[in-house]
C-alpha cells in the first residue's frame, strides 16, 4: 500500500517538475513548483521526518514560492517573446542531461547499502520521544555553531537583498535628520 502511494507521489513529482521547466507561463511554473514541494513534503512524512515536512511546507511553499510568485507578478515579462530559441540548446542539454542521468543511474543500481546499527541515543525509530525533540536536542548542542552560521547567512542575505533593491528616486520627500538638527 505504501509502495503504491510512493509511486503515485513520485509520478506526480516527476511530471510536475517537468512542467516547471517547460511551461510557457512563469506563473504556471511557480504553481507546479508548489505542487512538487507539497508532494515532497508528503514523501518526507513517509521517511519519518515530520518536522522537516512541515518546515518544507512553511519555508518553501510559504516563503520561497510566494517570493517567486511576487517577483513574477512584479516584472512585466513578455510571454510570447520568451520562447524563441529553445531548440538552440536542446542537443547539448539532452546530451549532458542523459550522461548525468545514466551515470547516476548506474551508480545507484550497482550499489548495495550496508545497514549499520547506530548508537541507541541517535536512534530515531525510538518512538518514546518525537522527531522534533530529537532534532532540537542535536541542533542546539552538537550543531550549535552551524546553526548560528546559518542564521548569519540569512542575515547577510537579508541585508544584501535590501541593499541591492534600494534606490534613491528623485522627487520623493525624505527626512534629513542631520539638516533638521542643525537648523536654527
Amino acid at each position: 500500500m505504501n509502495t503504491i502511494l510512493f509511486f503515485i507521489l513520485s509520478i506526480i513529482i516527476i511530471i510536475s517538475s517537468f512542467l516547471v521547466i517547460i511551461s510557457k507561463n512563469p506563473i504556471h511554473s511557480v504553481l507546479f513548483l508548489i505542487l512538487v514541494f507539497f508532494n515532497s513534503a508528503i514523501l518526507f512524512l513517509f521517511s519519518n521526518a515530520e518536522f522537516l515536512a512541515m518546515v518544507l511546507l512553511i519555508v518553501y511553499i510559504g516563503a520561497v514560492a510566494v517570493l517567486f510568485l511576487f517577483v513574477v507578478m512584479m516584472l512585466d515579462i513578455n510571454i510570447t517573446k520568451l520562447r524563441q530559441s529553445l531548440l538552440n540548446y536542446l542537443p547539448i542539454g539532452i546530451l549532458i542531461g542523459s550522461i548525468i542521468f545514466l551515470e547516476l543511474f548506474y551508480v545507484v543500481s550497482k550499489s548495495n547499502f550496508i545497514f549499520i546499527e547506530k548508537n541507541i541515543i541517535e536512534n530515531i525509530s525510538n518512538q518514546a520521544i518525537n522527531n522534533t525533540k530529537i532534532i532540537g536536542n542535536f541542533l542546539y548542542t552538537d550543531y550549535f555553531l552551524l546553526f548560528q552560521l546559518s542564521g548569519l547567512i540569512l542575515l547577510v542575505a537579508m541585508i544584501g537583498a535590501i541593499l541591492l533593491t534600494l534606490r534613491k528616486r528623485l522627487g520623493t520627500k525624505k527626512q534629513n535628520i542631520y539638516k533638521q538638527i542643525l537648523k536654527k
Binding site: T3, S10, I13, I14, F18, V20, I21, I22, P26, S29, V30, L33, V36, S40, L43, S47, N48, A49, F51, L52, L56, V59, V64, L67, F68, V71, L75, S85, L86, N88, Y89, G93, I94, I96, F101, V108, I116, E117, K118, E122, N123, I124, S125, N131, I134, I135, L139, Y143, L146, S150, G151, I153, L154, A157, M158, G160, A161, L164, T165, R167
Partner: protein
C-alpha cells in the same frame, strides 16, 4: 521502512536531471532558472532525508535544515538581482545578460 532506499535514490536522480535540463534548456527566463536550482536542492534534500531514515541517524535531517536556510538565502539574493537587472535592462532575457562579455 517498507519502501526500499533505491526508489528514493531513483526519484532523487530523476529530479536532479530535470533540474540540470532546466538550467540548460531554459535560455529565456531567468526566474525559471532559479526554480531549476530549487529543484536540484530539493533532490539533495530527498537524498539526505531518505538516508537519515535508512541509517536511523538524525544528522541527515539536521543538514536538510541548513540546506533549507541556504536555499532560502539564495532565492532572496537571486530574486533581488533579477529585480535590479529588470530595472536596468527592462527584460530578464538570458541573452540580454552580456554586460561582462563572458
Amino acid at each position: 521502512m517498507d519502501i526500499p532506499i533505491n526508489y528514493y535514490l531513483y526519484l532523487s536522480i530523476t529530479i536532479f536531471t530535470i533540474g540540470i535540463l532546466g538550467v540548460f534548456l531554459n535560455r529565456k527566463n531567468l526566474i525559471v532558472l532559479l526554480m531549476s536550482i530549487e529543484l536540484i536542492l530539493l533532490s539533495a534534500n530527498i537524498n539526505l532525508v531518505s538516508f537519515s531514515n535508512y541509517y536511523k541517524d538524525i544528522t541527515g535531517q539536521i543538514f536538510v535544515l541548513f540546506t533549507l536556510s541556504v536555499s532560502a538565502a539564495e532565492a532572496a539574493v537571486g530574486l533581488a538581482i533579477i529585480v535590479i537587472f529588470f530595472r536596468k535592462k527592462d527584460s530578464i532575457h538570458i541573452d540580454d545578460i552580456n554586460t561582462l562579455k563572458g
